[in-house]
């Protein structure tokens, strides 16, 4: 009984820690995905199924600390995670596409330009940070193949990749400035045809 109490206490502490960790990684509204567009490409691939292209706009609310950090030369890398799953009333959900891409913004002090690299790897440089943000707000280039008359759902998340931050910032767990994540939301695509 005594050992049972101790084990229970340890389990309780572990559960509390997990809950705290989950609360820590909750979306904070700094990135909002909007105007998501699913467009069908007319070309038929080797599977004889149409390709679909996903594009969306995002509103990234950079606070002055982050803008200051960019100006100090800290590169910000954002991670875009996309999962497309085929849903069925009977069978479990089947993921047909999972893709992770990155885009980033960086300030080049020597030339005094803001350099952006989009999810397709294209580099652009801007004299003004707002132009650079404008460029980053538009994301396009996710492509997947889907069959007709089947239900699909899309899971999309954009977040700041903290692993790409300088190391001292990575381990400062108390600083929530760098917690930037969009809402982890499932978008029901329904039947595609």
């Amino acid at each position: 009984m005594r050992y049972f109490k101790r084990i229970s206490l340890i389990v309780l502490v572990a559960l509390l820690s997990l809950i705290l960790m989950n609360l820590y990684s909750l979306p904070d509204g700094k990135i909002v995905i909007k105007d998501m567009v699913l467009s069908k490409k007319n070309n038929i691939n080797k599977y004889k199924m149409p390709d679909y292209l996903i594009s969306f706009n995002q509103e990234i609310n950079f606070d002055y600390l982050i803008i200051n950090a960019i100006d100090k030369g800290i590169p910000l890398v954002f991670k875009v995670v996309l999962r497309v799953a085929e849903t069925n009333e009977i069978w479990p959900t089947k993921i047909i596409k999972k893709e992770i891409r990155y885009y980033q913004i960086e300030y080049k002090a020597l030339r005094e330009v803001y350099k952006t690299i989009d999810i397709n790897g294209e580099t652009h440089e801007y004299q003004n940070i707002l132009d650079a943000f404008e460029k980053l707000s538009k994301v396009e280039g996710f492509r997947f193949t889907a069959a007709n008359n089947k239900n699909y759902e899309l899971w999309l998340n954009v977040s700041l990749d903290k692993k790409k931050l300088p190391k001292p910032l990575q381990v400062n767990y108390f600083d929530t400035t760098w917690n930037m994540s969009s809402e982890k939301k499932i978008h029901k695509l329904g039947k595609l045809n």
Binding site: L9, G73, A109, L110, K167, P168, L169, Q170, N172, Y173
Partner: protein, 707 residues
């Protein structure tokens, strides 16, 4: 719990080492394992706090329950914890201060200014180069604008080579390449951004481009103003790499500047993470040391607690308590000595117990002897307090044993004045200043009310102990001896009286009778009557003297007992029959009276004498009663003759069995003396008591003896 604390301490130290290693490895510090390590450490610290809290709670409970060793453990834990906490805290505070100042010192203002200066220098250099290209571009554009289209290429190439430009391309506003001149013959120039061309069409526009992070290019756009106003606007694009030595330096400065800025920005985070790590290290070290202090304290206090427990056991008389060995240190030596002491103590106690038992046996033996002695023994101390007395002493002195024990003799004397002479003798002996006192003895006569006089021989002997002096009083009741001596003396007197008086009596009587016979008829009537009266008086008195002398002779006569089987109850019936007229004699007897062997005639005389005495005592009593009882006793019979007569006066009751002692007006006083003598001759015992209101009781105990 001891093992748990040991394991926990071990884990704590391991985590401490891992944390220290992780903090010194920049690759590890940013990894998930470091985060896990931090989490593990925090969890572990929490577990340690819980464990220590539980330990403290348990320890305090033990203290409350007053469990042996708990207070010492608490004190040791507090001491060890204090010894650990104070230096570690000092080191921690110094480290935090040092760390904060060190981190701040990294971001010196001079370094920042130097880096900014370097960056500005690079920018200025590039600006100068840009200015140079701008001039060259404008010069080339002007020259080309004034020549025919057929001559443009050759002029462009000449000027490019002259100005040492790497690439020169002429575009129209629709991004169509008009002319290309390059150091590289196979150059296919990339199509410029339409916005750049538009800007270049409006006036000079230059930009700095970076390639692969190693090379810096200057790209300029200059409008070409031609003579023909209607012709399309042409734009000259010049591309010129910055010399590698300058580019590398500029890029290097930019890189360092960027890193410096990042560090400056994240210095607070650096401080926090180092302080966090230090704090974790501190807590781990502290809590591990406190946890370890519990184990160490218990290790120290447990042998002492065992010693305390064993001491308590020994104080309760348990000498079997042996403490297990505890190493070879001083505590081990102490425990070994303690065990040895316990063993010796057990042996000593066993020996003492045996001695005590032996002493007890001796004491019991002595007490048994004293209890069965007919001689009274009293032990007095110097203060004359009775320390010991046996039963015989209380019997002889007729004082309860409980009234004597541990009582001062003076108090007993106050209560029983009878013993005053004895006390005075004892007191004078004890208080005397003689150095070598020898034993002394003295006889004392005790006359107790309603009891026969008794004679006591008191002997006092000093006992020399170590320091205290004690005295032994040996008391013997020598009443019977003195009485026997007295009886013997009376017998001798009686025998001599009988011999000396009886012989002349017969001649006196005969002479008187002869005088009467010879002179009776010769005298006148008157003289004759006087003679007759006188001679008769002589004869009568002589007869009386004869009777008295005979009685004395009888008393003094040597013992000649002829023992026969006597049925005492029948003998009594026979004697009582002689007194049947009185009808006041009651006989009570047990159902079966055993036959005794005695001299029947003498016993008859005893009964007659006793009945005679009773009859005499009842002469003036109205309701006369004599009661004779015969009872069986162990080994004999008890004969009691009781009357309700006038009784015996106190003054003579002690000597009533002596000859010539009587309360009667007439009588020789030999009746009871003869009875006493006959009973003694039969080895019996006779006692006489006054009955409370009035009357006398004579009790005779006779033994059943073989012929």
């Amino acid at each position: 719990m001891k093992y748990i604390i040991t394991i926990v301490s071990f884990i704590g130290i391991s985590l401490l080492i891992l944390l220290a290693k992780a903090i010194s490895n920049s690759d590890l510090i940013s990894s998930d394992s470091f985060r896990a390590l931090l989490g593990l450490n925090i969890l572990f610290i929490f577990s340690l706090i819980v464990l220590i809290g539980f330990q403290i709670f348990r320890l305090l409970q033990n203290v409350k329950k007053e469990i042996t060793g708990s207070r010492l453990t608490l004190r040791l834990v507090m001491s060890f914890a204090l010894m650990g906490v104070v230096p570690v805290l000092i080191v921690y505070l110094v480290s935090v201060n040092f760390l904060t100042k060190s981190i701040e010192s990294w971001f010196d203002v001079k370094v920042e200014s130097a880096l900014e200066g370097g960056l500005t220098l690079g920018q200025k250099t590039i600006d100068i180069l840009m200015k140079d290209i701008e001039l060259k571009g404008k010069s080339i554009a002007y020259s080309i604008g004034n020549v025919d289209p057929e001559q443009r290429y050759s002029l462009l190439t000449d000027l490019r080579e002259k100005f040492r430009i790497q690439d020169a391309v002429i575009f129209d506003q629709n991004s169509i390449i008009i002319e290309v001149s390059s150091e590289k013959s196979d150059l296919i120039p990339p199509i410029p951004n339409i916005k750049d061309l538009e800007k270049g069409g409006r006036g000079f526009f230059g930009r700095i481009e970076e390639k692969d992070g190693e090379q810096i290019f200057l790209k300029t756009f200059t409008p070409i103003l031609t003579k023909n106003v209607n012709s399309k606007t042409l734009i000259l694009q010049l591309t010129q790499p910055i010399p590698p030595s300058i580019a590398n330096l500029a890029l290097s400065v930019e890189s360092v500047y960027s890193e410096y800025q990042q560090l400056t920005y994240s210095r607070n985070s650096l401080k926090i993470i180092y302080i966090l790590t230090l704090t974790l290290v501190l807590l781990l070290a502290l809590l591990s040391s406190v946890s370890a202090s519990f184990v160490i304290s218990r290790r120290f206090s447990s042998p002492l607690a065992m010693l305390a427990d064993a001491t308590r056991q020994i104080s309760k008389g348990n000498y079997k308590k042996i403490i297990s060995k505890q190493g070879k240190d001083e505590i081990g030596v102490l425990i070994s000595s303690f065990n040895s002491m316990t063993s010796q103590l057990e042996d000593a106690t066993n020996n003492s117990e045996k001695d005590r038992e032996r002493l007890e046996v001796s004491r019991t033996f002595l007490e048994t002897i004293l209890a069965h002695l007919t001689t009274g023994v009293i032990v007095l101390d110097q203060a004359k307090i009775i320390r010991l007395n046996n039963i015989a002493a209380s019997k002889i002195l007729k004082i309860k044993s409980s009234d004597m024990s541990n009582m001062p003799m003076s108090e007993i004397v106050d209560k029983y004045l009878l013993f005053k002479p004895m006390y005075e003798f004892v007191e004078s002996y004890i208080d005397s200043d003689k150095k070598n006192k020898k034993e002394e003895s003295q006889e004392f006569k005790l006359n107790k009310e309603n009891e026969q006089e008794s004679t006591i021989m008191l002997q006092i002997t000093p006992i020399k102990n170590n320091k205290d002096k004690s005295y032994v009083l040996v008391i013997d009741d020598i009443s019977e001896v003195t009485q026997a001596q007295r009886h013997r003396a009376w017998g001798e007197i009686a025998r001599r009286l009988a011999h000396e008086i009886k012989n002349p009596l017969t001649p006196i009587q005969l002479s008187a009778e002869r005088i009467q016979h010879k002179f009776k008829n010769k005298l006148n009537k008157e003289d004759s009557e006087i003679l007759e009266r006188s001679t008769n008086t002589i004869v009568n008195q002589v007869n009386s003297l004869k009777i008295m002398v005979n009685e004395f002779a009888e008393y003094a006569r040597p013992t000649k007992i002829q023992k026969d089987a006597v049925q005492i109850d029948e003998l009594i019936d026979e004697v009582v029959a002689l007194y049947e007229i009185e009808k006041n004699i009651t006989i009570k007897k047990d159902r079966k009276i055993p036959t005794i062997y005695a001299d029947q005639n003498k016993l008859r005389q005893v009964i007659i004498n006793l009945l005679e005495n009773s009859q005499d005592a009842l002469k003036e009593i109205k309701n006369k009663k004599i009661m004779i009882s015969i009872r069986n006793k162990i080994g004999g019979i008890e004969l009691t003759v009781e009357d309700n007569g006038v009784g015996i006066p106190d003054i003579i009751i002690g000597r009533i069995f002596e000859p010539y002692v009587t309360s009667k007006k007439t009588g020789t006083g030999l009746g009871l003396a003869i009875v006493h003598k006959i009973v003694e001759e039969h080895e019996g015992k006779i006692t006489i008591d006054r009955i409370k209101n009035s009357g006398t009781r004579v009790t005779i105990n006779l033994k059943i003896r073989e012929k």
